[in-house]
Symmetry: C2
Subunit: 336 residues, 2 copies
DNA sequence: AGAGCAGTTGCACATTCGTTCAGGAGGTGC
DNA sequence: GCACCTCCTGAACGAATGTGCAACTGCTCT
């Protein structure tokens, strides 16, 4: 690891370079001359300045309102939407990647000092974590919202990698949650929930200022990570289907109308109840791909979301007045 | 003039392009493909997005503190400084230009809806006006702080050009102040100040939320615009010298210690009294070049400034513990 | 002291970007 | 209806930018 003074020096040069590049419109060559270094170094300094949040680039929709779609979503569901523009034809992998990158870039706008940030585990959040832009804040805490353990692994490696990245972007303290995603026996969960060590973490979760999560979609054509990694078995699926679940946030399931009571699996889930989640002031949901449409509609009905980042196709679907959407809604729709 | 709908369309495309470029890291070529247009058009769209404030690029110093110099200035004078990095050897013209460009770029951060913005007339403010980045705000008013007339011209053309640019950047209403910079007879001023039309404008000035001004420096080697354009005659200079003035803000003069009472010329000045100016919540001063050092020290002593944009050389001079600086201080200094 | 290593630097090259220019679309005035 | 005029578009060129690579610097460990 390099010494602290050289880090500070780098930041100071990067700051200078950034001011000259973005505020004075000099070329990198000119900056190199003034800083007595090479063009390449200036290019790298500027990359560093962007990644480390020294340069803050944000897109502001005119008059605090966005595109027609974003306004539409706002008036229909009361959530602030950020539509990520994208061709219809793009692959779901790229779609997720681009939505996640966008989310990582704008997340800094929600984070501030002294915040407790809840992070759900999942492939979407994982992708986001790879694109976070640092922001210089103090005294933030990053809390894992739900367990990541399954029948094969404790999940700590992967989950903690995600938390690490959030932590280093916002110089935050990490609070892991080393429990399985779903318990086999609800009584085990109840017992563990009474443990002081667990209670401490649940207390922190209860004081969340910001929650970041993707959406699960158990009955979509392409089931998400949680459903292929040994978290749920056939019996669980049957149970979810019987209870009418269409989606989940951090392992907690809900129905198309937003209700979640009496969904059996929820008593074994490690994530926060929807009631608890709704108490969080800012709840940022990142979601991509039309196969999540039903799940998104449910989450909106449940009022789980305050800020939504989603791709263009999904956005235009969600505002279509399709009536209530169930599993079969996918075949009801008219135009692709 | 193009139709409104095509303007809106352009803004929408620009917004899309900006999201893809700055949030998803696509190249302009890729964006062109997705938007079914050419690379060049995308390049132009992005320029438009930057100029029109759709893209907001700002430089944030780590931990809300800036470079060593900025922190130093803050602790010494209690003002938030923005030091514009620059080589010592640069010409004064470039120096002014680069400070002004920087100021124009960061000014958007101070402007908000429903604000009344006071703008002083001067070569520095003129340069700033050429580099303003638009910001979508409502119901702002731009007020001319001091008259611009002199013995040769009413000054309205040039001054109104500046105001126009502010106006179009912040979609603001313009309030001109069609009076001479300095009156010949204080009684004329007093009379005019009692006129209802003038009172209306003075009332607006009294409710200022933000003031933007440069500094005059009557006895510097290179006197600024105000002193060569027929605003002041030899007698005026003698009077200023006798009264110990080192600088002015919007035609109102002050001494090295920040006092301004009994400076004869001030009774004939068209700008707001320093007491009035100090009531403005945010007072942004933009200044460049070491010849303004004494004037800057006086303005700082007078507490006229809350936010300061200045070049690096001037910044490092102003924190030097030179003791009090008077007119003779210019010859005291060691290095050019 | 010297080998080893992580991090940094500048060069060279490939890519990406901004701008000029000629052509075309759309709107206006006679 | 036709000429004019302004604004917009895309191709082409040169300038600006990002990155793989090899050399180098400063530090650590033995």
């Amino acid at each position: 690891m390099p010494q602290t003074s050289s880090e500070a020096l780098k930041a100071a040069s990067a700051l200078k370079a950034a001011k000259m590049y973005y505020l004075q419109d000099l070329t990198m060559g000119a900056i190199a001359t003034e800083l007595r270094t090479s063009r390449s170094s200036v290019s790298r300094l500027l990359s560093f300045a962007r990644e480390s949040g020294l340069v803050d680039i944000r897109i502001t929709s005119p008059f605090d309102r966005g595109s027609a779609l974003e306004q539409d979503i706002h008036s229909r569901f009361g959530v602030t939407a950020h539509v990520v523009p994208m061709p219809e034809s793009i692959s779901d992998i790229d779609r997720l990647e681009r939505v996640a990158m966008t989310a990582g870039r704008i997340l800094g706008g929600f984070v501030d000092s002294n915040m407790i940030i809840g992070v759900a585990w999942g492939s979407t959040v994982g992708a986001i974590s790879r694109h976070l832009v640092a922001k210089p804040v103090h005294n933030t805490v990053v809390v894992q919202l739900n367990g990541a353990g399954n029948t094969q692994t404790t999940g700590i490696d992967y989950a903690s990698e995600i938390l690490q990245r959030f932590s280093s972007a916002y110089s935050a303290q990490i609070q892991q949650f080393p429990v399985p995603a779903f318990f086999d026996d609800p009584r085990t969960k109840e017992g563990l929930w009474r443990e002081r060590s667990t209670k401490r973490l649940l207390d922190i979760q209860a004081r969340l200022d910001l929650a970041i999560f993707g959406l699960g979609s158990p009955f979509a054509e392409i089931p998400s990570q949680v459903y292929i990694g040994g978290y749920l078995d056939a019996e669980d699926y049957r149970s979810l289907s019987e209870d009418g679940a269409v989606g989940d946030v951090a392992t907690v399931f809900y129905r198309p109308d937003g209700t979640s009571s009496d969904i059996a699996l929820n008593s074994r889930a490690s994530g926060p109840s929807l009631d608890r989640l709704r108490k969080v002031a800012r709840r940022v949901c990142v979601v991509s791909g039309v196969q999540k449409l039903a799940s998104l509609r449910g989450a909106l009905a449940a009022g789980l979301i305050t800020d939504l980042v989603l791709d263009e196709s999904l956005a235009s679907r969600v505002v279509e007045p399709d009536g209530r959407v169930s599993e079969s809604a996918q075949s009801d729709r008219t135009v692709a």
